[in-house]
């Protein structure tokens, strides 16, 4: 019997319809209806008022994404040049924190950054004054970078292992020094990894509520926290929460589309 590859995708397609497509329509439905189920745009009007929180979410997530990229890129390249055994060990070490519960990891950061936490105890212990760490934007960014950096390293690393050593030697042979090789060969060849790594860090970071809730305090109330309180918290409002979610989704999609557009252009420019 010939294996029809189309069939193999059916289980997931059913899953996707049930748990992605239908909920998406439900969100859309709730977003544009009131509690009685009649059409309204008042939820959207309410959601638009949350734009400052959305802007803050996007900027913190963008900063975290850039930091992840800056940290992960040289590391992923170095890692891709190691021997096979070392590469395996390294990827395990990168995944290691992910075996620990996400909440637990963030609690740990809370303990480190608190006013009476590990860092401040050390600082005062050596006679310095304590610094405000917890409940700052910086703490939120730190939490994002810490939690999401594996999602930047792994896609970068996987495209970089495909860059053959002989291609880098060829660049050198043709007269390219370190920076020319980076700009003309490594960067364009790793662009797919940059795009997917950035997406995989930015999207969860922009909608996070655990990290901002635990490390950011009331001053760093992000869009994710807002959505959470509307669905589970004190200001329960299913319709308004749906509208906010929809707004976030649209903004994320637009942001990613713009980013992808520019990175494509970059890749093409690098060709010239």
């Amino acid at each position: 019997m010939k294996l029809n590859a189309k069939w193999t995708s059916y289980p997931y397609i059913i899953w996707m319809i049930l748990f992605t497509i239908i909920p998406l329509f439900l969100i859309g439905y709730f977003a544009f209806t009131d509690a009685e189920g009649s059409f309204t745009v008042s939820n959207m009007e309410q959601a638009v008022k949350y734009i400052p929180a959305l802007v803050k979410s996007i900027s913190l997530a963008a900063i975290a994404t850039v930091l992840c990229l800056v940290l992960a890129y040289p590391f992923a390249f170095a890692m891709s040049r190691l021997s096979f055994e070392r590469q395996k060990m390294m990827s395990m070490l990168i995944m290691l924190p992910m075996w620990m519960n996400f909440l637990l990891r963030t609690y740990a950061w809370q303990a480190i950054l608190e006013d009476n936490g590990v860092v401040n105890t050390l600082l005062t212990g050596i006679g310095l004054s304590s610094v405000k760490l917890i409940n700052t934007s910086g703490a939120v960014v730190l939490g994002m970078v810490y939690n999401y950096i594996p999602f930047m390293i792994l896609p970068l690393y996987s495209v970089m292992t495909k860059i053959d050593k002989s291609v880098l030697e060829a660049a050198s042979d043709l007269g390219a020094g370190f920076f020319s090789t980076l700009y003309r060969v490594i960067l364009p060849l790793s662009m797919p990894g940059i795009v997917s790594g950035t997406t995989m860090v930015f999207v969860p970071a922009v909608s996070t509520f655990v990290i901002s809730g635990m490390l950011g305090g009331v001053n760093n109330y992000l869009i994710g926290d807002l959505i959470e309180t509307q669905f589970l918290g004190n200001s329960y409002d299913l319709n308004c929460g749906s509208a906010t979610s929809l707004l976030l989704m649209v903004v994320v999609l637009v942001t990613m589309a713009i980013f992808n557009h520019f990175s494509d252009e970059d890749a093409e420019e690098a060709l010239v």
Binding site: D164, S166, V167, E169, A170, A171, S172, D173, L174, G175, A176, G177, S180, R184, V185, P188, L189, A267, A270, L271, V272
Partner: protein
């Protein structure tokens, strides 16, 4: 010997990887306009030698001289040398034109000149019209041509080629051999070519450097290498041969296979043990009389141009090629004339305890 100016000189080059000594003292001069081939089995150090010339490997000891100047620590991107890599190593994100233009763009060549030189080069390697093709969609032979064009467009003093034809099928390989030789002659650039294929080396080269186990075994023209192998290794690696132990009684008289033969070599010590090389095509089948070394034909294989026979003479199997058919089981004489007997010092060894 080549009279042209020396481009590269390697002096007593040694190199180890992980405690494994790959090169054990390489001395080699490479001249202008020369087509020089490093020939040897895998692991003999030929590719390492090439990579030292290219700057990808720094020797542990010894010197690399370029036009008389020491360049041991000069990185590849500062050497006037370009390489055609074994697996081509084309840039997968660039089209054919941009692959070839890569080196020119790095030195900020004017766009007009880039277009002109790339076009010229692509014409030279028969790839006109392929400018905007993606390189990963080209055939192996076409990729190879792009790699050659990409290297040559920079007008290097020396082009290094690391088994460039290894991945191509036989027919394409033969065509490319002739084409490469033509390109080399028309551009007048020095080619340093690495291969393990002795036929390729003999066909293309002005000079062949036979290497084994990190040492140079012999340097010479293809004719020298084939007709006057310096030692048993060269003789066995280049072409087919019968290698028989013998004793050089005095000049022009050698004993092997239990018989005395007149030969054309001299200058050996009295009764020096030597290795005798006789090419299979140089042995003639003769009547089985006491005049000749006699033996029994064990095996006859038809090879197209000739028959190849294994003739057992007192336990030693001789390989003989003849256009005349002799049935297996026949007793024949082997006629070996003095010019066909090549005598080699036993002390110039296979693996080489030369020094």
């Amino acid at each position: 010997m080549n009279q042209n100016k020396k481009v590269f000189e390697l002096k007593k080059i040694a190199k180890s990887f992980d405690g494994d000594q790959i090169l054990k003292g390489i001395d080699l001069d490479i001249h202008e306009k020369e087509f020089i081939t490093l020939l040897g089995p895998s692991g003999c150090g030929k590719t390492t030698t090439l990579r030292i010339i290219g700057g990808f490997v720094t020797p542990d000891s010894g010197d690399v001289l370029f036009l008389g100047k020491k360049i041991n620590d000069v990185p590849p991107y500062k050497r006037k040398v370009n390489t055609v890599f074994q697996k081509y190593a084309l840039f997968p994100h660039l089209d054919v034109f941009e692959n070839v233009a890569f080196g020119l763009r790095l030195v900020k060549t004017p766009e007009k000149e880039i277009v002109q030189r790339v076009r010229e080069m692509l014409a030279l390697v028969n790839l006109s019209g392929f400018e905007s093709r993606r390189v990963d969609l080209l055939s192996g032979g076409q990729q190879q041509r792009v790699a050659i064009a990409r290297a040559l467009v920079n007008r290097p003093n020396v082009l290094l080629l690391d088994e460039p034809l290894g991945a191509l099928d036989l027919k394409l390989r033969k065509e490319m051999q002739i084409e490469l030789k033509k390109i080399q002659q028309s551009l007048g650039i020095t080619f340093v070519y690495v291969t393990h294929d002795q036929e390729e080396a003999l066909t293309m080269s002005d000079t062949v450097v036979v290497m084994n186990e990190g040492r140079i075994q012999q340097i010479g023209t293809p004719q020298d290498i084939y007709n006057e192998p310096a030692n048993a290794f060269t003789a066995s690696f280049i072409g087919e041969s019968n290698i028989i132990p013998g004793i050089m009684h005095k000049d022009f008289l050698v004993e092997f296979a239990g018989r005395n033969y007149v030969c054309v070599d001299g200058g050996f010590a009295k009764d020096e043990p030597v290795d005798i090389v006789v090419r299979p095509e140089d042995v003639d089948i003769a009547p089985a009389t006491s005049e000749f070394l006699c033996g029994t034909v064990k095996q006859v294989v038809f090879k197209g141009v000739h028959y190849e026979m294994h003739v057992d003479c007192n336990g030693t199997v001789w390989r003989v090629q003849s256009t005349d058919f002799t049935p297996a089981g026949a007793t024949v004489g082997l006629k070996i004339t003095p010019e066909d007997i090549h005598i080699m010092h036993r002390s110039v060894p296979y693996g080489g305890e030369k020094d």
